[in-house]
Symmetry: C2
């Protein structure tokens, strides 16, 4: 059976990406990164619930505590506040974690090469996004080339980005269609029991549900 | 002052790469990875001695214990023996760590972006090497493109590989010329007090000293 490494944060996008991999017939290796993000407790809970829901045998949580040493992002640095005033067009926000997807995809590639997996799924979204430079089609293309050049000749890995051109409302609709348990996903950037509703990530999520004409099953403050 | 992140294992090649960065006028951020390699104790000792020798203020050791979870290499997996029968042409050896340089360079890029560094130095050698796919000019080129595409517009990073076309004898000679304290470098793949002299890495090193007509200052069994 063909294998795929799925990078799963516990958010809505990566959850749908993993369900897509399942639908496409892959045996899944679910990979979660604990990089000291403020919301890791919630994210990890969601990750395990999703893994359980899909009956995935092979899951791995990788500790990347060094992200806090590098810092520079409101997601990993306690001295920086998560912005709540809405997304500004054309500006990379302070929640950007320097080259995070480069690190994630390189580790996923290492695991994929070791396990003989032929695909990596990642839930990046270019359209309705926060404007992170490591979430674009152009970047993913170059990253895939680097991975295939820098691994063994017999290793051939495709980076699958089934959400890259979707709008948030499509992600909500598609998740419903595929039976993704959206109550087990967490998008908020803040470390609280209930989602804040005003950080960039909550705003994008709520807009998606609204436009899809559906109610978000998670609790908000 | 222009800054460079230097990836320094504690081996001869990366030590020379860092001394080259110094010679080229960079303020150095020295970066060492502890990835659970069998020889980490020796390597870290050498790393700190080199950092001290160059009076570098900014050094960082990053823990990547997850490499052991991924496994698949004789450098990180205790159930696999380090080969001692010499390098086989055209075969990627069991000491290859899947996409190690991809992970290292991505983390270095993250740090470089955060710190505003314009270069990353890495001591990869294509010529006189063990045949690792993540040590070639072609791979480095693609990795640099991926990094610059996946980071902010104002981030421009060059990956510098001053050793890539050198033979081991040139590395020895060049190190002598630049005053690299070769007694503070460790190349052996085995976890012993003295170098084994027969693993691929020792063989390459010893051949380099021999052809350079110099004596290796470290102790061998």
């Amino acid at each position: 059976m063909k294998k795929a490494v799925c990078i799963v944060s516990g958010g809505m996008d990566s959850a749908l990406a993993m369900y897509k991999a399942k639908q496409e017939g892959y045996e899944i290796i679910a990979l979660h990164f604990d990089y000291g993000q403020k919301t890791e407790k919630k994210e990890k809970e969601c990750f395990y619930k999703l893994v359980q829901n899909l009956n995935i045998e092979n899951s791995l949580v990788i500790d990347l505590a060094f992200f806090a040493k590098i810092g520079g992002s409101a997601l990993t640095d306690n001295s920086l506040n998560v912005p709540i005033d809405g997304i500004q067009e054309g500006v990379v926000p302070i929640t950007y974690v320097p080259f995070r997807n480069g690190i994630f995809l390189s580790i996923a590639a290492s695991l994929a090469e070791k396990e003989g997996a032929e695909a990596i799924y990642i839930g990046v979204v270019e359209e309705d996004s926060s404007g992170y430079p490591d979430c674009t089609q152009k970047y993913i293309q170059k990253q895939e080339e680097a991975i295939n050049e820098g691994t063994k000749k017999e290793t051939n890995i495709t980076i699958k980005t089934p959400l890259i051109n979707l709008k948030k409302e499509d992600i909500v609709k598609e998740s419903k269609k595929l039976g993704v348990p959206l109550e087990f996903t967490w998008s908020c950037y803040k470390n609280q029991d209930r989602a804040c509703g005003v950080c960039d990530s909550c705003r994008l999520r709520l807009k998606g549900f609204e436009k899809a004409g559906l109610k978000d099953p998670i609790e908000y403050i």
